[in-house]
């Protein structure tokens, strides 16, 4: 009796060992099939690009609460994607209550916080999302941060404003996540010397001549400028970009055939990005709510090129009549698409090249529109292009729609149909069959 028991023990141990090896093998070479419609468990190409460029090891330390299992699981699942995609990323997870020493050393006092470290640099992530973690990795192991000033005081979109239609606080946060240190700048007469990027986002009132001169001089001295100009933009702004060889058409781009459900048909869709300027340009498909086209004109010094074009279904209403009347193309008067809606200018200077990007719309960066289609990608890609020599252009993780109300609405009748169809009828049918069989058995 003893020998068979030993033999059985050995067999069980051998099978357990073989199965453990299989599990270990699967752990070492994981494969994932992401069936979520928003590709929630797949890192965006932008993040993968950042991870691919990592030269140093990055350590991510997560502090969680052991009493909040689902939250911990969501965070560790996300961080596991990083370590799976890049072996240089090392992830550790600690229960905050059980590891106060490590938490204190890293300056963490709240649950669900991650600390991203590379060498001596360290960033804390308070909300563990792909956008935030990638931003932190970029901050500690990527390129140095770019100090970015949003000029305000002329009706521009303010990065401190949380207002839905006019504010640009979401844009500021999106830029911050990619290493742009965003601040507001009251007036442009004196651009701080540490400015890595100046953004003029939809001014509605004229800039003073001194401000225009200061911005132009900054670019000539190697500065970087991003101009977002709506149709009807003030003359001073038109004059400013004219100095760089870009003439704003002051028309209105109409894209009725390409219009989205729920929009009024005036929104211009960015169909193409200039691949000569942005290698591996992502399909941004931005939606510019009210855009004007532009053209390049001769200017001494600057070297300009078109950056973004609309689809060929669009056209330009040169008199900007469309908001009041039904949009109708007038042959010989209006202009057919595709239309240029963004331009990139390189301005040679003694202290390095200045760079300017002009986009014929500013509303796409408002809190209301930033997460629509590829608007955020367009903003971040152009900001990278103008501010950094080594632009990083790839599709970013999609913004999460907010709110608690579901996109699904059910009428009381729908709910009744589901209740009867899914709960009552199938189970009652089977239970009835069971009852019949039981009765038949009893009588048999």
């Amino acid at each position: 009796m003893r020998r068979p028991a030993v033999l059985l023990g050995a067999q069980v141990a051998a099978v357990a060992a073989i199965l453990s090896c299989l599990i270990a093998l699967a752990t070492l070479h994981p494969h994932r099939l992401d069936f979520t419609p928003d590709r929630h468990f797949t890192l965006s190409s932008y993040t993968r690009e950042i991870l691919g460029r990592l030269g140093d090891d990055v350590r991510i330390t997560l502090f969680y609460s052991s009493q909040a299992g689902p939250v911990r699981r969501d965070m560790t699942d996300l961080l596991a994607l990083y370590s799976d995609a890049q072996p240089r990323v090392h992830v550790r997870a600690y229960d905050l209550d059980r590891s106060p020493g490590i938490a204190k050393r890293l300056g963490v006092s709240a649950y669900n916080t991650a600390v991203v470290e590379a060498g001596e640099r360290r960033e804390q992530v308070d909300l563990v999302t792909e956008e935030a973690v990638t931003g932190a990795i970029l901050a500690v192991a990527g390129t140095p941060p770019v100090t970015t000033y949003f000029v305000v005081g002329h009706g521009e979109h303010d990065p401190r404003d949380d207002g839905e239609r006019t504010g640009a606080s979401d844009a500021a946060r999106a830029l911050a996540a990619e290493g742009f240190r965003v601040q507001a700048l009251e007036g442009a007469a004196a651009v701080p010397p540490d400015a890595g990027l100046v953004v003029l986002a939809g001014p509605t009132r004229d800039l003073r001549p001194a401000e225009v001169d200061a911005l132009a001089a900054g670019v000539a001295a190697g500065g970087k400028l991003l101009v977002l100009a709506d149709p009807g933009t003030p003359r001073s702004v038109r004059d400013l970009v004219r100095r760089f060889g870009v003439e704003l058409a002051d028309d209105l781009v109409v894209d009725e055939r390409g219009r989205l459900f729920g929009t009024d048909g005036l929104s211009a869709r960015v169909a193409y990005l200039n691949e000569a300027l942005i290698a591996d340009a992502p399909d941004v498909h931005a939606l510019l709510p009210e855009a004007q086209s532009m053209r390049l004109v001769d200017a001494a010094g600057p070297n300009a090129d078109y950056l973004a074009m609309t689809a060929d279904t669009s056209w330009a209403d040169v008199d900007r009549r469309a908001p009041d009347t039904a949009p109708a193309f007038r042959p010989g008067r209006d202009r057919h698409g595709p239309l240029p809606v963004a331009a990139f200018v390189r301005v040679p200077g003694a202290h390095g090249d200045g760079r300017v990007v002009v986009i014929g719309d500013s509303d796409f960066i408002t809190n209301l529109h930033l997460n629509v289609l590829g608007n955020r990608d367009l903003l971040l890609t152009t900001a990278e292009l103008v501010a950094r020599a080594d632009a990083l252009a790839a599709a970013r993780p999609a913004g999460q729609p907010g709110g608690t109300f579901s996109a699904l609405t059910l009428t009381a009748r729908d709910a009744r149909a589901i209740f009867w169809g899914a709960v009552v009828v199938p189970s009652a049918t089977l239970l009835l069959v069971a009852l019949t069989l039981a009765r038949r058995r009893r009588f048999a």
Partner: protein
């Protein structure tokens, strides 16, 4: 293989000839239907915009509990009843090997579970007719439910081979499955060093990804390995009669 199919057919006929399988099916559909309906109601009220994380995740996590409740009752009779009635000894006199016997009974329970599970798509189908949605997360969720079922049935089959009492077989299955869930229920109660290992072994942690719409090879391999291990134990348990000279 043909013999396994014959055993499977015999087992299915026996199961469906009595009221137990129908009662279990009715309870399974009642509970899964109710969970689907209540999760849907919650999602409509406060679930947010993400249907995968706001609805399907909870639906499949609840379906998992129903499978945990019902499947041990399906598997408890597979061998225990035969042993109690003395028909197992009769079966051993037939030219059927233990592996074929085990495969046939395992397949029968799996077929029954698959039918139960397939019937639960009625709710999502009605919802789809009313409000079309992306069905791909359901593919992952149902794949996870199928694999979880394979693991549960393997565990239950193994438990059924070691006793002639059906209640004991069901309780043993509950014990293993519930332990594999509750072992990581309260991480604060287990050691810092033990927690990661237990998390790796938790059957339910390996199901979580499926519920969220993702199929991970690690989870698939773990669930299949879990099932393979218990089927091996069941096979050894059946083979133990040779030690006893039966």
């Amino acid at each position: 293989m043909t013999k396994a199919v014959l055993v499977c057919r015999r087992e299915l006929t026996a199961m469906c000839g009595g009221p137990l399988a129908w009662v279990l099916g009715g309870v399974f559909l009642l509970l899964t239907g109710y969970f689907f309906y209540s999760d849907l109601a919650l999602f409509v009220l406060v679930g947010g915009a993400n249907q995968t994380r706001g609805l399907w995740r909870f639906v499949f996590l609840d379906f998992r509990l129903v499978a945990l409740l019902v499947l041990p009752l399906v598997t408890m009779r597979l061998f225990a009843e035969e042993r109690k009635l003395g028909t197992l000894e009769l079966l051993w006199t037939y030219p059927v090997r233990d592996g074929e016997l085990l495969a046939g009974k395992f397949l029968a329970a799996l077929v029954l579970y698959t039918v139960f599970l397939a019937a639960t798509v009625i709710g999502p189908c009605i919802l789809y007719r009313l409000h079309p949605f992306a069905v791909t997360p359901l593919v992952a969720g149902y794949a996870g439910m199928a694999l979880l079922g394979v693991a549960f049935i393997a565990c239950g089959t193994a438990a059924s081979t070691i006793t002639e009492n059906q209640v004991v077989a069901a309780l043993l299955t509950y014990a293993v499955l519930v332990f594999s869930w509750f072992a990581t229920w309260n991480e604060a109660a287990i050691g810092e060093r033990l927690a990661p290992a237990l998390l790796q072994l938790s059957l339910f942690d390996h199901f979580y990804g499926f519920a969220q719409g993702v199929i991970d090879s690690r989870d698939v391999v773990y669930l299949l390995a879990f099932a393979a291990f218990f089927l091996f134990l069941a096979l050894r348990s059946l083979g133990a009669r040779s030690w006893r000279g039966i």
